[in-house]
Amino acid sequence: MRGIIELTQVNKVYHGAVDSQVLFDINLSFEAGTCNAIIGVSGSGKTTLLNIMGTLDFPNRGDVLIDGKLVNNMTKNQLACLRNETIGFVFQFHHLLPEFTALENVLMPHLINRWRPSQEVLKRADELFDMLEITEVKHSLATKMSGGQQQRTAIARALINNPKIILTDEPTGNLDSETTDKICQGFREINRRYGTTFIVVTHNHLVAEHTDRIIEMRDGRIISDTKSDV
């Protein structure tokens, strides 16, 4: 069965005063509806790999297939459209727009290609606020929320378009252990409820332990790929 994300012979070199290769012949496939973690020390290439899967960065060599579509030759607008419909991002820094309320931030990916939110999407936003336990800050500006609430709002934003894939990079990097646990449980709940594929890049083994599969990287190569019993 073909995976929702397929990487074949992916190589990435950063050109500069000295060229530096950060990914070496990566071959990976992620099944739809699974929860995956990519771990590794700083500089192992895991964030670069995530960015390539998110079409934010491009390999120098190798093919990337997202939801069955080869992204290598897509135009910038096609990629933007693919990201909007298929992929949700959660980064270490939430990057919420401080000028907007939590609800407005959450609805933003939906409004990129539409005039106004449908009733169905507003209902879905309410569900996400409930599930992530942030209903009380729904109408608060991003600057008036705690770090955990901001990050959970960013997760709700990533989920509003019901994407098939969620890519997250150190989603709990700035959070305490209690909030980290809540967020991990949130990921699992979403994964179970909507069948969303999760790929979580993290340093944190506790976060990785919540996933079905742990891929470990070192020096731009995959050194282990194990399935857990979550």
């Binding site: 933007a80 693919l82 990201r83 909007n84 270490q92 820094f93 727009l97 907007f100 933003m108 005039w115």
Partner: protein, 384 residues
């Protein structure tokens, strides 16, 4: 729509920054509007006070006899020429008035009263007595009256160059504000002048005023073309006032330069503020791009910001500029209560200035918009 909403929110959220730039735009545009309208009013006032109460175009004879044949045909053509506001045939001749063994030269000008009033505004210039209402009556200017010590109802004896004398009755006195005219011109009926100087049915000139006095040369050449008459010569005030015109042109150019500099400074101010805004907002723009907003829509945010700043700033500037002009006119009155300049609101100029300011502000948004096009989400996300 989302880009517009984000642009509005960026502006309203960074309120102090937005208010400062809006005040800057408003002041700049108000000065531009004020300078433009002031120079325009000043020019119109100068022209109006110099040639306002005199004909803009004059048709006279180019032949030796100095009178025009079949002038009714010419008058018909004049009447049907676009832009012509008022016209009058005139029979004018030289005469002398005796005073203590001295002969004072005068110019007897015969006009139908209603049409001369539309050119010289003579009814308002009569300060004693009334308009002439019979063929024996004349209007005399203030300076001539003082020289001859005349009163309403007095007789005035005119000596004619070809010999003979004519006695006429003074119906009133006028003051056109120009001493040389007040001293020399005697107004009377067209028929009276034609009889005195034995012109028969002929006239010496046809004088006219037009809607836009700056079009005098165009209207004159159009008339010349339509009349195609070698026996007449057509003169307009612009040809006769070249020095005044070059002075006005100098004013107009300096006003235009000031306005261009102001608009350029508005563009630079908006562009630099928005360019800083792109830097400030790059994390948000980066994440929007990661979420799937395309480059064009991301750049629209800054174009909308430029447009909105321009819209509000220029409207405020427009109101401020016009108010400044009113205040200037109000505070610069002469001791006798007359204003230093007459206020002319050229609505075309105001609308044009507003549209230019609006376009310039929107164009100013192009620089930051281009900057945002180049923004790569990966850089923003990497830097946090």
């Amino acid at each position: 729509m989302l880009a517009f909403k984000i642009g509005v929110r960026f502006l309203t959220h960074g309120r102090t920054q937005s208010i400062l730039i809006l005040v800057g735009i408003a002041i700049a545009i108000s000065i531009q509007i004020f300078v433009g309208l002031l120079i325009d009013s000043l020019q119109r006032t100068i022209v109006d006070r110099t040639i306002g109460n005199s004909p803009h175009i004059t048709i006279s004879s180019s032949t030796d006899v100095s009178t025009i044949r079949r002038w009714q045909q010419i008058a018909y053509e004049v009447e049907h020429t676009r832009q012509v506001k008022a016209f009058s045939p005139s029979a004018t001749g030289n005469a002398f008035v005796e005073k203590e063994n001295r002969d004072l030269p005068v110019l007897v000008r015969g006009f139908p009263f209603s049409s001369v009033d539309r050119i010289y505004n003579i009814r308002n210039a009569i300060y004693d007595g009334k308009e002439y209402s019979s063929r024996q009556e004349v209007l005399v200017g203030r300076e001539l009256r003082e020289e001859l010590e005349l009163d309403v109802g007095d007789k005035i004896v005119l000596s004619l160059p070809r010999g003979g004398k004519v006695t006429l009755t003074i119906s009133g006195f006028y003051d056109l504000g120009v001493s040389s005219i007040n001293k020399a011109w005697i107004f009377t009926y067209l028929d009276t002048a034609q009889d005195i100087f034995e012109f028969g049915d002929r006239v010496t000139s046809i004088e006219m005023t037009i809607e836009d006095i700056f079009q005098a040369d165009t209207v004159a050449s159009q008339l010349e073309q339509n009349l195609n008459n070698d026996e007449v010569v057509i003169e307009n005030w612009k040809d006769q006032n070249q020095e005044l015109l070059s002075g006005l042109e100098g004013q107009r150019i300096s006003s235009a330069i000031i306005q261009i500099v102001i608009i350029a400074s508005v563009v630079i101010a908006i562009a630099s503020v928005l360019a800083i805004s792109v830097l400030q907002k790059s994390p948000e723009i980066g994440i929007l791009k990661a979420m799937g907003i395309n480059d064009f829509n991301a750049s629209l945010i800054f174009l909308y910001e430029g447009f909105l700043l321009g819209l509000v700033g220029s409207l405020a500037g427009l109101v401020l500029g016009v108010s400044l002009l009113y205040a200037f006119v109000f505070f610069t009155t002469s001791p006798d209560g007359t204003t230093l300049i007459d206020l002319y609101l050229d609505y075309g100029f105001i609308v044009r200035s507003w549209l230019i300011a609006l376009t310039a502000s929107t164009v100013a948004g192009v620089i930051p918009a281009r900057k945002s096009l180049k923004l790569n989400p990966i850089d923003v996300i990497r830097e946090g």
